[in-house]
């Protein structure tokens, strides 16, 4: 591909200071490039730092290390020629549609007449005719995001940055807006040279992008690149499309879920492994779905995700929890229930609590640890600080809080111990 390079990112690092004084590493060693005529997708779970990367490219924040160059010049501050479309639209509620579109041009100090003609042209292009004098609050979500697109396109940027622009919309509206955008792009009607799309929706990435970059979490970095070569417009039912989706699923589960250990840990090991909070009803729900027909205990992750209408963001943590508790097993883009998982699916509520409680005691060392501490104490109670301090020696403040939250919620379901939020104490007492 001989096209000119619009954007070049090399070895970018970004940390955030934590209240405790540590630094949270959000991006580490990120490399990517965007060439003219490309739509590149950044695919990863939320919290993987994709949006942070986008803010760095837009010049809204600065990296701690590495280089970002736009058309050969280093990025230091918001640059002309890079426009952004936001997840929650970010329209100014007190400005009309027309004023919202015009504001970017006003900042460029263009003559009034040119501002008006260009704004009207953008509104026309994006299908907002007749809405010029409406206020954003009068519009549906889809129409609002169209304003967001018009506002970004009207400044004729070289690069369009899109931060999950369809994720706040319902499925139908999102699909409609996506196809409209792709049509305009293919017809070369859009005054832009390249697009960087952040998303956590695998199908969206396959549908829109020329290249998809998979993003890992903690810290965020690009782990794989997948080229999507099928011609557009792409149909979801096309086998080639489904192959791409499957491939991405396999890649992502290989990197995420399958890392969760499968062997029983020896005592003391993994006590301080960070956990992600997943509600017990989601866990039970996934087990039931996989156990039921047509899956009967083994399911393809993309299939079950679309069946349950879960985004990978929502599905992966649940699958991980299943794996962790040995209720399920994830491999090669499939999820399979273990023996215990199948028993859980058939059990009534009391038996489920029992199975869950045993799984917690065996495979989540922290839960067993808390239970033992409570058993040993004469008053069978312990303050939260006792455990949070212990965890914070081994992980960030945020991770310890999340870990404890997960354990509390699971232990509540299993009736392993209880936790009173107001006095911040763990105890073996149940309200009677």
């Amino acid at each position: 591909m001989g096209a000119a390079t619009l954007l070049e990112i090399h070895d970018v690092r970004r940390t955030f200071p934590k209240p405790g004084g540590d630094q949270l590493l959000v991006l580490d060693g990120v490399d990517l490039s965007l060439r003219e005529g490309e739509i590149v997708g950044l695919l990863g779970r939320s919290g993987s730092g994709k949006s942070t990367l986008l803010r760095l490219i837009a010049g809204l924040a600065k990296p701690q290390g590495g280089t970002l160059t736009y058309l050969g010049r280093a990025i230091d501050g918001p640059a002309g020629g890079v426009a952004m479309v936001f997840q929650s639209f970010a329209l100014f509620p007190w400005l009309t549609v027309l004023e919202n579109v015009e504001i970017g041009l006003e900042a460029l100090h263009l003559p009034e007449k040119e501002i008006r003609t260009r704004a009207l042209a953008a509104i026309d292009l994006i299908g907002l005719d007749g809405y010029e004098s409406a206020y954003p609050r009068e519009l549906s979500g889809g129409m609002r995001q169209r304003v967001g697109f018009a506002r970004a396109l009207v400044v004729h940027p070289n690069i369009l940055l899109m931060d999950e622009p369809f994720s706040a919309l319902d499925v139908l509206t999102a699909e409609n807006l996506r196809t409209d955008f792709i049509d305009l792009w293919l017809d070369k009607k859009l005054p832009i040279k390249g697009v960087l799309l952040v998303t956590h929706n695998i199908e969206e990435a396959v549908q829109m992008c020329d290249r998809v970059l998979l993003f890992s979490t903690n810290p965020g970095r690009v782990v794989t690149e997948i080229k999507i070569d099928t011609p557009r417009p792409r149909e979801r039912t096309d086998p080639a499309f489904e192959d791409y989706v499957d491939r991405i699923y396999v890649e992502m589960t290989a990197r995420r879920v399958e890392r969760v250990p499968r062997q029983a840990p020896t005592a003391g090991v993994n006590l301080y492994a960070p956990l992600t909070h997943v509600s017990s009803s989601l866990i039970a729900g996934l087990i039931e779905a996989v156990a039921a027909a047509p899956y009967n205990g083994k399911a393809d992750l993309p299939d079950i995700a679309s069946d349950l209408q879960l985004e990978i963001d929502e599905l992966f943590p649940v699958a991980e929890a299943l794996q962790l508790l040995r209720l399920g097993d994830v491999e090669g883009g499939d999820i399979k229930l273990t023996h215990m998982g199948k028993r859980f699916a058939d059990a009534d509520n009391n038996e489920r609590k029992e199975i869950f409680s045993r799984a917690l005691m065996s495979y989540v060392p922290l839960a067993g640890h808390i239970r033992r501490v409570l058993d040993e104490r004469t008053n069978h109670a312990a303050p939260r600080r006792r455990f949070i301090d212990e965890l914070e020696d081994h992980m960030t403040e945020e991770a310890s809080q999340e870990t404890l939250r997960a354990v509390v919620s699971w232990a509540r379901f299993a009736e392993l111990f209880s936790y009173d939020k107001e006095s911040e104490t763990f105890s073996l007492e149940n309200p009677t």
Partner: protein, 577 residues
Amino acid sequence: MRILPPVSVEARRLLPSVWDLLAAVLVLGFIVLFASASQAVIQPLASLTQQPISLDPSALPGYALRTGLRMLVALGFSLIFTFTYATWAAKSRRAGTLLVPLLDILQSIPILGFLSVTLVFFLSLAPGRILGAEFAAIFLIFTSQAWNMAFSFYQSLRTVPTELSEAGRVFGLNGWARFWRIEVPFGMPQLIWNMMMSMSGAWFMLVVSEAFTVGNTSITLPGIGSYIAAAIAARSLRAIMWAILAMLVVILIFDQLLFRPLVAWADRFRIDADTNDNDEAAESWALKMFRRSKLMDAIGLPFDALMHWTYRLTPPEQGSSATRPSLVPPWFANAVWYACLSLLVAYVLWRVANFAAIPLGSGEILDVFLRGFATLARVIVLIALASLIWTPIGIHVGLRPHLTKIVQPVAQFLAAFPANLLFPIAVSLIAMWRLNSNIWLSPLMVLGTQWYILFNVIAGASALPHELRDASDNFQIKGWLWWRKVALPAVFPFYVTGAITASGGSWNAAIVAEIVEWGHTTLRAYGLGSYIQDATTAGDFRKIVLGIAVMSFFVVVVNRLFWRPLYWYAERKFRLG
């Protein structure tokens, strides 16, 4: 595997914790302080004149205690008033039509107006005892606290989400239980914020409510307010400094022991809050103490039980108890209600005219109106100036969280700062440069109230969503364009709320800002505030009534014609989300 053997309760209760100890000390201390203070108030009234206010700083802790207790008692009455008056206004559409505007008017009446007409009544409650004067002082503090609390609770009651009250109905909670378990918790966060504002208002009027003269009756109750009054009379800057220090300490104590725990506690009632465990919610050591201490549990338990018992007093409302058929058709009841109201209004107008307007004559009335316009001009100019100064500063601060953390509490303290404390500075400056007191006394009017503009603008700027800030950066909206299209519109609804509070408060502050004393020097400005103040000192009831009526008229008219339309415009056009 049956989990969780119930743990022996006694084993937990045996060991008192540090928190228990701390709580016990606080409770005991409070009881002792209360007892010694109540001993003082049954002394004969004459003992007040035998023991004039001492400017010795060692007397200040005692004075601070009396002042603090008065404020607490008044706050208690304000709460009772809020729960009854606001509830009545919200529950009965018919009563609401009268009670809500009435609250508007009550809020517009300056504190001296309440003083002059009620003093005799309160003194007669406990003849010859200090208690009567204490009643009067507490009532005055109450009048500077109650109205905005009632307003806030009324508004909360009107906006209880329907599904919450419907849930209450479905589960058969009766009206009493619904009130305490749904409506009060829902209104609590807002109410607590208004209680804090009320406290500031009470501090601002403190001197007036503790040391007052109506005609021949002069009363000086021991307290920080009287101490300030005495310091002013004696021209003692040192004593003024001590008073400021004492005030600061009392405000801090209230903050730590009362408001901060309340705010942290009320956090759970915030309906918009997400249920995150690791929140950065308000923290309070005092609340922690109350929660961890078994003593507090023991004290709270009987009250809890009592409340639960009251819920069961009336049978649960089951089935369709939506509307009981009334004896008379609604149009008839309405007609009777409005007829009664009209008669009442006509009668009151006639009495007022007979009492004040006719004997005083049209010349006097015209003069009072002119004074009203003079004060109005001051309020307008000063609110405009305060807006010009504090809006940009508030936006600047609100966009920077670390600055907000510093500025908010400072502004809160300044809002509580009684204007009287600045009298020495005002008098010396005006005397030094021979300034016109008609102009240069005016800044005292917005001294306490301008901070409401600052508070609200800061709140507005910090509520600006991050994505909007990113969008304006991304599209390089800078300079004047940024102020015009982004910052000012974003804070506008917040600004209007602040400006309404500030403007109303400034009218009330006119009575302390238009007559300024320092020792024997008295400066006065032509206006409605000085008119009411003079009339009160002279005990001329006709003039007091006329002055109050005109002031209320001005405040209500300005609110209805200017602020209310502006408020709704701002809500419609500029409110986010």
